[in-house]
Symmetry: C2
Subunit: 532 residues, 2 copies
């Protein structure tokens, strides 16, 4: 999961903020502000915002890593104060005047400045469209709903969570109507996580995937299964951490700017700017691959973040452009690189060095098959590369039906279980392992899931472009990540949020996005693993 991007899109930096400002800030009588002054003010404003985001991001990070158990309320108070401060700063009269002035003088601005003004005005307009009282109620709901979700999940008690979820969906529909009264409300939320994404595009994408993945999985199920015994056992935390610290620089992370901590759920966050990025992992003794691939996945996010051009630091252009492009990078490093045979060959000596009692006498090929075993399973975050998108499709389908008024929260468990049966062919034993598994809906992240599948597909098409100039397999096997990372930096990372996702994709791909690349990638990989 990528925290920073979520926050930006959902505006969670502004959680618990009282919208104490007039809905439409009054533009003061234009003072004699020169363009040069306005440009400088634009940068100073963003630097200030970055500092507040640094503080808020660090408080969240601290809450997930080092903070004692019962300090959430104390932290919540401080976050609420600082959120209100950044809200006032970002939407205040002075800021709106400045941005309007710059917007009216667009032709005098450079490309970066134009984009900054656009993004900042866009976020202000959204915030202003929602009545203050409802915005406060929504933020309260998110906190409560997340809290109830934790309890409900642990107790397998969907009924407890249901009213909150119902209210969350209602709120999201209403907000969409405020912010984009002419748009389809579900499209409005899809667009939040990837500018320009629509239900129509998602439908086409998922339908193409389903057409090919379902028969592919049937063929896999009919084949002899590799064993995953090699990666299961009792792997001590100290050596798992040593493996994590070996992998980080190996894939090109600059550990003087990227930190590693442990949390319940792995994530990536940048603090203040891309000069300080943190990834987290979780060590499960019973499965060495969980932390290993968490580190590589979050490492992909961190490579993207830290790869932004240094000139973008302390501006809204720093970091990654949207969730799906972010996932394209994390899943590229996790799956396309990390689960490839050359990569397993590359790191196998290290695995043997760390756990000779486990890995001596086994071949890298055995490990490679173990980490690529395809299997219909219950939990999205533990799903393999082949079945993963089906998990995403279940969630997308349900969100669509809810926005279409065909389902309400009450119907979700049954609908969830039916779709898991239909798409993955498995029975869901309880809601803890079913509809209650993800935190997204509780936190208000609706329209977010497609990004995971799209990111995977973008990554496969990026690979095809990259291979025109880089011998990717050869680089991986040699442990020479320079050419791979330089390609990603040159084509994707360095731009930060400068280009909208559609424009970025066009620049990188030089042809329209086409899920066929991803499908072919999966089919070829399955053929190698299952030796068809």
């Amino acid at each position: 999961m990528k925290l920073l991007c979520i926050d930006r899109a959902a505006g969670s930096y502004y959680d618990e903020v009282e919208k104490a400002l007039p809905k439409h800030a009054i533009v003061t009588e234009e003072k004699k502000m020169t363009l040069q002054e306005a440009r400088e003010k634009l940068l100073a404003l963003q630097a200030k915002q970055s500092a507040y985001r640094h503080a808020l991001g660090l408080m969240s990070y601290d809450g997930a890593t080092a903070a004692p158990k019962k300090t959430a309320a104390n932290r919540g108070r401080s976050m609420s104060v600082l959120s209100e401060e950044i809200y006032r700063l970002s939407t205040g009269e002075e800021t709106v005047s400045l941005l309007d002035y710059l917007d009216a003088n667009q032709e005098e601005l450079n490309e970066k400045e134009r984009r900054m003004v656009f993004l900042m005005l866009e976020s202000i307009r959204d915030m202003q469209a929602i009545p203050m009282a409802e915005y406060i109620a929504y933020n309260k709901l998110r906190v409560e709903s997340d809290d109830v979700w934790h309890t409900a999940k642990a107790a397998n008690d969907f009924a407890r969570f249901e009213p909150y979820l119902e209210k969350m969906f209602e709120t999201k529909k209403r907000f969409a109507a405020y912010c984009a009264p002419d748009a389809d409300p579900y499209d409005y939320w899809l667009d939040k996580y990837e500018k320009g994404l629509t239900r129509e595009k998602c439908d086409a994408f998922f339908s193409a995937l389903r057409t090919h993945i379902v028969p592919l999985l049937q063929k896999i199920a009919a084949s002899p299964q590799p064993s995953s015994a090699l990666i299961k056992g009792n792997f001590d935390e100290a050596r798992q951490e040593a493996l994590a610290r070996y992998l980080m620089p190996l894939i090109g992370l600059d550990t003087e700017h990227v930190g590693l901590s442990t949390t319940e759920h792995p994530f990536t966050t940048s603090l203040g700017s891309h000069f300080d990025t943190r990834i987290t992992t979780h060590y499960y003794p019973e499965d060495v691959s969980f932390s290993m691939y968490s580190v590589i996945h979050e490492g992909g996010h961190a490579l993207y973040e830290t790869g932004a051009d240094d000139s973008l630091a302390y501006t809204v252009l720093d970091g990654g452009v949207c969730m799906s492009i972010h996932e394209s990078q994390s899943r590229f490093y996790e799956n396309i690189i990390g689960r490839s045979l050359p990569f397993i060959r590359l790191i196998y000596p290290k695995l043997k060095e760390l756990w000779p009692e486990v890995f001596e006498g086994h071949a890298p090929e055995e490990m490679w098959k173990a980490v690529n075993k395809a299997e219909a399973s219950l939990i999205r975050t533990k799903a393999d590369e082949f079945t993963y998108c089906l998990h995403v499709m279940v969630r997308y389908e349900l969100e669509k039906r809810i926005f279409a008024g065909e389902l309400c929260a009450h119907d979700l468990p049954a609908a969830w279980n039916a779709l898991y049966k239909e798409y993955l062919g498995i029975d869901v034993p309880d809601d803890t392992h079913g509809v209650l598994q993800d935190s997204h809906w509780a936190g208000g992240l609706i329209g977010y899931f497609p990004a995971y599948a799209l990111g995977s597909a973008y990554g496969a098409q990026f690979l095809a472009r990259m291979q025109e100039s880089v011998d990717v397999s050869d680089c991986i096997e040699k442990g020479d990540f320079g050419p791979i990372n330089e390609w990603n930096r040159a084509h994707i990372w360095r731009f930060g949020r400068l280009y909208p996702p559609a424009e970025l994709l066009e620049r990188v791909l030089k042809e329209p996005f086409n899920p066929a690349y991803f499908i072919r990638y999966l089919e070829e990989k399955a053929a190698r693993i299952y030796q068809w």
Copy 2:
């Protein structure tokens, strides 16, 4: 070391702040502000300040714990922005008007409110007395000087540090003249770390100590020495951490509100309020006692912080009143409790459980003697209870001479070495183990050292009062810290900063402060250890 208190006293929350406001804020035409409104505003203002301090404190804490190596500049930018924001908030026109209004209506306020207004006005007046450009230069100097000190210490190169130190002393003299033109400049700085402390009081105190400690140490040196072999060896970090996590609740820390991390130098800090307090330690494999006593020492600071009455949270009255009282608590738990025989008896089974290969077959008395061995040594932070105050006296003596104009920075190494020879009878081999050992002067903490020795002496006199109603030894041996902690809470902790230190001491001691208690405590303890 106790960070929070340092920050408050030295105003380091305001580091790198541009003093962009008029020196004397203009009080606006008095609006019809009711007293009730003003009281509410007073609390709201402090809650806001707490949130900013939370952010700044957490950034420092993060820098010392989890942050990647090369992120200091990035963090510095954010801290600089937030420091400027809290500076504007704390010294702005609106705040000054509010405080002046409340100050003029003192008789209508309750005791806590009066004290809040007093403390807040006091800190504003100090900040306003210093010309803006000089304040900025000072904060720049602190950052540079600390940086150069690190390098100079590592390289044993005092000459490199000397010009910064000279400038630091000059600045401190000048600032004292701005803020308190009629006071003795060294008294001004002593007063910063304990309100009302003067050179005269320190002289009397240190002279009493020296008169008794020097002959005591001579007697100790002439006695057969206990062995410290039991606590030296190769103690793995995992078990040292287990010991730390056993000790924290044992002495009464609420680990749901007090966290533990590792840092280069141990410290304690509270974030936002006393509801979230962090202590840190450092595990040295070669000496099990270092982390053990760091945890108990910092635990004493944390007990004091978290023991403040909950109604003081999010106000300037939260936390501890000053450095010396803070050290009285940390050194009380570390030495009076932690280095007592009943305490060693209490924890010995745990030590045997953790390291049977070391502690089985030895008696608690052997451990007790090992952790109390008196020995003239070079490094203050590693000094035993008997010689510790002599280390402090060296620093006090040098600061006094510098403020008297008898010494300049250039003379310090020679003067330092001469005093170590005179007070402790040892030769200093190099400046790394001499005048460069402490970070305080580099960071602008001048007049701070006496608090360490005063705190030790206060603790011994507190013990005498406590023993009138609590059987301290018996409580310790039973592991029943309730009565001890309740006494400290009732007499010291719960008041936070409500009473100035002199008044607090008077209330607790019911007689004047008298170093004879501390001297007698040391003499009796030495007699038991050395079996005179």
